[in-house]
């Protein structure tokens, strides 16, 4: 393929109503934190000190995404090395996260050895549990049977489930199955009905975290970056005082706040993709080798209970490669 894009830092964010720019590019790294309902942004160079001072919430967990084990093209010939760097980053956090959420595209081609590799590698994370949702790359040949068997035992339907932790309610959704021609991600009626029933008994003061692979808001439909029937899901979430939606799929961080719902997408641990509309297609984006790790990364989320229960989300890049 001929169209590699070598990007300098500083891409423009989107000037769209409701969008907040939170992109962690090399050299212009931005960390966005929501505190007391107000967004604050910090240069990445100050990240480590700041994260340390923020790690006082009642619940801290990490989101990683899009590890694409099995990918080996020019954009990153060694995705296991960058995944290991992400694991090292997690293990270096001042506070052990309660668990890790993987928001999908675990593997690149749904091959057993790809799943094996990730499974083995994540055993090295210092945490108390790992939860997954599948990406479209994880359900390629068998309608997700292999994925569910390995990573979603006890789940329902195509692999959706929920659990509670520290008073917060977590919901893993699957929006990468049965994708229709010309469409976006899909949740489907069976899952939506399950979601409504699942949320029904909860008090509106319960913090809710929803995680799914494809963004649950329309980031960029032309590239398939959205979910056809997410409006229905969001309507069930509107009554809650604090909702955090964590997605992957687009291999860059983006954030949007809509009422009490904060949407956040994560960086990939494997390779970056171009900002919406800045390239012919949303394929793997080649960047100078020394910059690669600065635009791959992990996301830490912590909850602080106060008058309003807030999720603080911080994205941090991978440490640069030792010389």
């Amino acid at each position: 393929m001929g169209d590699f894009i070598e990007k300098d830092a500083n891409p423009d964010g989107l000037d769209r109503r409701g969008f907040l720019k939170c992109m962690a590019w090399a050299g212009t790294g931005t960390l966005c934190l929501i505190q007391g309902g107000i967004l604050k942004s910090y240069a990445l160079s100050r990240l480590d000190k700041h994260v340390a001072s923020q790690m006082k919430g009642e619940l801290a967990f990490v989101q990683i995404s899009d590890s694409h084990i099995g990918f080996d093209k020019a954009a990153n010939p060694d995705v296991t090395a960058t995944l290991q760097a992400a694991i090292d980053k997690i293990n270096a956090l001042p506070m052990r996260p309660e668990f890790v959420l993987h928001t999908g595209d675990i593997s690149h081609l749904s091959k057993p050895h790809e799943f094996d590799t990730l499974d083995q590698m994540l055993k090295g994370v210092r945490t108390n549990g790992i939860f997954y949702v599948p990406g479209e790359h994880d359900v390629l040949e068998d309608d997700g049977a292999q994925y569910r068997d390995r990573f979603a035992k006890g789940s329902q339907g195509d692999g959706w489930y929920s659990f509670d932790h520290s008073g917060a309610h977590f919901v893993g959704l699957v929006n990468v199955m049965n994708l229709k021609a010309g469409g976006l991600g899909t949740l489907g009626q069976q899952q939506l009905q399950w979601l409504r029933a699942d949320l029904n008994p909860l008090k509106s003061s319960t913090p809710v975290v929803v995680f799914a692979h494809i963004p649950l808001w329309s980031v960029y439909p032309q590239w398939g970056w959205g979910t056809d029937d997410s409006e229905q899901a969001l309507s069930y979430l509107k009554r809650f005082g604090s909702v955090t939606v964590l997605n992957g799929h687009i291999h860059q961080t983006m954030q949007k706040v809509e009422g009490n719902i904060t949407f956040h997408t994560a960086m990939s641990t494997a390779f970056p993709q171009p900002a919406p509309g800045t390239a012919a297609s949303p394929g793997p984006m080649k960047v100078p080798a020394e910059r690669l790790r600065a635009i791959l990364g992990v996301t830490e989320v912590q909850f602080t209970r106060g008058k309003h229960t807030l999720a603080t989300i911080s994205d941090s890049p991978l440490p640069s490669q030792p010389m």
Partner: protein, 122 residues
């Protein structure tokens, strides 16, 4: 003797004209076929940059189309009505399908469903 030779010569000439006439006729039929734009029996669709090229293609019944993925991410070739469905094609993988029946076959990539295309068979 001379009469017979003349008759023979005449007969030969007639035969020659007839043969020529047939040849001309055959030649014009062949020309007509070419000018109708007959597709070869095998043809190729390239997958690159999250798109199928050509996005719309017309072939005759019996044509085998081979899709080749030159993109650096996997794609699939799935007809909307599931009449054909490839495995995930990594870079340089290919998938072939022979279109026996006339009709319109809309298809897409099930990983990136915004990638749509069409085969018309007639």
């Amino acid at each position: 003797m001379r009469k017979m030779k003349r008759k023979a010569a005449f007969g030969l000439a007639l035969l020659g004209i007839a043969v020529l006439g047939l040849a001309v006729h055959a030649g014009s039929v062949a020309t007509e076929r070419l000018s109708e734009g007959t597709e070869p029996v095998a043809t190729k669709v390239t997958i690159d940059n999250f798109s199928f090229s050509p996005q719309e293609i017309t072939v005759v019944p019996g044509t085998t189309i081979t899709w080749v993925n030159h993109d650096d991410v996997p794609h699939t070739v799935v007809s909307n009505d599931k009449r054909f469905k490839s495995k995930a094609l990594d870079t340089d993988d290919s998938f072939s399908f022979t279109f026996k029946d006339a009709g319109t076959y809309e298809y897409y990539c099930s990983l990136h469903p915004r990638m749509t295309a069409k085969v018309t068979v007639k």
